[in-house]
């Protein structure tokens, strides 16, 4: 799994609340069975605009955000569908960090599996980071320290659950973590449950 330690990069502002994973990765592209090269579909309908021509106002179509690696988004980013394609597409489009006040829970979990760090901040701090993104001021995100360093103002602290932070810092895959640590515990659990709830075995 791809690890994440620190990143200094440009941030793109997307203040709308409740951006769902259907908007991040439209359903019609879910027929693709691979997970690589999906960046071209990220926010596809919003990029295209109503007439089909690229919408020059959409933030990710603006030349100054073309190299953005951080997305600063409104409340509840990534709500709705569990589609991990949303993460694969964001990562392929160059994003390593998504900042919001809250995330859809499944999207949040999916980010960690794909080398993307979801950062949760307060509404006031989100406003500051949106302003930085609008101004084109780069941000530095340090996972180990739990800090967003800004050119324009004081550091913003954030928390990441230790079990998720450790895996992301080290690039550890979930399956390896479990099987390395809990193989015997799994065997024992299954043996005891086979006796207690035999109808499930």
């Amino acid at each position: 799994m791809e690890r994440f330690e620190t990143l200094t990069g440009l941030a793109a502002p997307m203040p709308a609340a409740n951006v769902d994973t259907d908007s991040i990765f439209p359903a019609r592209f879910l027929l693709i069975t691979g997970k690589r090269g999906l960046g071209r579909y990220v926010f596809y309908e919003w990029r295209a605009g109503p007439g089909g021509a690229p919408d020059p106002d959409f933030v990710l179509n603006q030349p100054r955000y073309r190299t953005a690696e951080i997305l600063v988004a409104g409340d509840n980013f990534g709500c709705g569908s569990s589609r991990e394609q949303a993460c694969w597409a964001l990562r392929d489009a160059g994003f390593r960090v998504v900042v919001s006040t809250s995330f859809g829970e499944i999207f949040h979990a999916n980010c960690f599996k794909n080398g993307i760090l979801p950062v949760i901040v307060s509404p006031a701090d989100l406003a500051r980071l949106l302003a930085d993104a609008e101004a084109g001021a780069p941000l530095t995100v340090d996972l180990a320290a739990g800090q967003v360093l800004r050119q324009a103002g004081p550091v913003i602290a954030f928390e990441t659950a230790p079990w998720r932070r450790e895996a992301l810092l080290n690039g550890w895959g979930e399956i390896d973590i479990i099987l390395n640590r809990s193989g015997p515990a799994l065997d024992a659990y299954e043996a005891s449950r086979r006796a207690a709830t035999p109808w499930l075995y």
Binding site: A16, A17, N18, D20, D22, S23, P26, A27, R28, L30, L31, I32, T33, G34, K35, E45, P50, G74, D75, N76, C79, G80, S81, S82, R83, E84, C87, S102, G104, E105, I106, A109, N110, K113, N114, A161, P162, W163, E174, I175, I177, I178, L179, R181, S182, A185, L186, Y189, E190, R193, T197, P198, W199, L200
Partner: protein, 468 residues
């Protein structure tokens, strides 16, 4: 010792090992696998040379990409055809049971799991699908996961999870005449808001919930994710046990008695403490319709689209304005009378037999209005056969509805069922997001009876006022 909630009991029973404060390795008893979220999971297993730990605990079926007509022919869309074929190949390669499109049991994962008795109280069940909360209606700890987690469950039969906080939604009183589980569900989502359930496992309780059939309970638990909660639960009771008894994969004989004794313990204790409690009065609920582009943006059908000018905050005003703009509505516009172009009856929310009966009851009173395209998509082959045995297909056909083959269809618009830009749809599905039913399409979520009534009238109506 204080009592425990149902969620806490289910959690404790599946804890393989405590890892960290509030974080455990959680055992997964069963998983449902569909064609969209599984190809990358199987590919991951192959790349790492891993096997499936317990193939017999998984069940694979295609539902999202499948066409709902011409099922005797190969799927026309080559990508969909390949995706559906790949599921069969993967299931075969890893020794997992698979129901092909030709199998009479094929259907939407969240409809067939309960139908087959694959879903049982007290188990943990996952699927790469956010509406997996549906199975919580049986007192199962069921939640949606991503494809990477699907791969993890296939390989390790477990997931690291953080324990959720608990939220009890108590619905007192009784639903009024013409008011259904869907109206209750939309009311709950509106009351909690789209983020109200984030971080929580919801348990639905109270007289109105107890009075619901299993179909109604599934509708309620299904949309927990629309309030942000991955888990929705209802304690199993006699209604649950009666539904399960005799299902093909349900325990039978001696095992039934043992299972039943265990299942009867699956309730929140009297003195259990929830982190949060919400009360809802069933009697106050009217048939409900969404006006916006988020499932919490709904109102009683007798109500109006809101006015951004009276919103509580500037952010809320922007949200409302954007939604009204997309939906082509004016502030203060009444919902009754809105002309529709399409009606969709189906989905994992409302594609079960009771839903089709409710829609047919309305459909028998008239004909689909000129210019309206109305389709009925049964949630599964079993639902379709049952409906046909009851003559519901004839009622729909005579009224001008199209009668289709089972699948997710217009709920996700991944197959060839898709709306044209700007078209307005009365839909029994679960999401009214921008573009959900097609680019630029406008979705109004409502109950099956309300959607059928809208199809006949050609506009949104209050089903309570249309009785013959």
């Amino acid at each position: 010792m204080t009592g425990r909630t149902l969620y806490e009991k289910l959690w404790a029973a599946h804890e393989v090992e405590a890892y960290d404060e509030g974080v455990s390795l959680l055992y997964i008893d069963r998983s449902l696998i569909h064609e969209v979220s599984s190809p990358q999971a199987f590919e991951g297993l192959r790349a790492a040379g891993r096997r499936v730990r317990r193939p017999e605990t998984h069940l694979a079926v295609a539902d999202h990409a499948v066409p709902t007509r011409d099922r005797d022919r190969p799927i026309a869309d080559p990508l969909a055809r390949e995706q559906v074929a790949l599921l069969a190949v993967n299931a075969e390669a890893f020794g997992i049971a698979h129901l092909p499109l030709t199998d009479p049991r094929q259907g939407i994962v969240h409809v067939i799991g309960p139908e087959l008795g694959f879903t049982l109280p007290g188990m943990t069940l996952v699927c790469g699908d956010s509406h997996t909360s549906t199975h919580g209606a049986f007192g199962a700890l069921a939640f949606g996961i991503g494809a990477s987690e699907c791969e993890c469950v296939l390989a390790a039969q477990s997931l690291r999870q953080a324990r959720a906080r608990t939220l009890r939604v108590n619905v007192c009183g009784r639903l009024g005449l013409g008011v259904t589980a869907k109206d209750l569900t939309l009311s709950v989502v509106a009351a909690l808001g789209v983020t109200g359930g984030v971080g929580y496992a919801i348990e639905y309780a109270g007289e109105a919930v107890r009075s619901l059939s299993m179909e109604g309970r599934m509708t309620l638990c299904n949309m927990s994710i629309e309030a942000g909660a991955r888990v929705g639960l209802i304690a199993p009771d006699e209604t649950t046990f009666a539904y399960i008894a005799g299902r093909p994969m349900a325990p039978a004989g001696e095992a039934w008695g043992a299972a039943l004794a265990h299942w009867r313990t699956l309730t929140s204790d009297q003195d259990a403490v929830f982190d949060r409690m919400v009360e809802i009065d069933a009697a106050a609920i009217a048939p409900r319709v969404t006006w916006g582009t988020s499932p919490d943006q709904s109102a009683p059908v007798t109500g109006t689209a809101p006015d951004p000018a009276t919103a509580a905050s500037e952010a809320e005003a922007r949200k409302i304005a954007r939604a009204l703009d997309y939906m082509g509505l004016r502030p203060g516009q009444p919902l009754i009378g809105l002309a529709i172009d399409n009606a969709f009856i189906g989905s994992c929310t409302n594609g079960r037999i009771e839903d089709l009966r409710a829609a047919a009851e309305v459909a028998r009173r008239g004909r689909v209005a000129a210019g309206v395209t109305a389709i009925v998509v049964p949630g599964s082959g079993a639902v379709k056969r049952q409906a046909e045995a009851e003559g519901l297909d004839r009622i729909f056909f005579d009224a001008g509805f199209e009668w289709r083959e089972p699948g997710c269809s217009l709920c996700v618009a991944m197959n060839n069922d898709r709306l044209e830009p700007g078209k307005r749809c009365a839909s029994t599905s679960n999401r009214n997001f921008e573009g959900r039913q097609g680019i630029g399409a406008r979705t109004h979520l409502m109950s099956p009876a309300m959607a059928a009534a809208a199809a006949l009238a050609g506009r949104i109506v209050d089903v309570r006022g249309t009785a013959a």
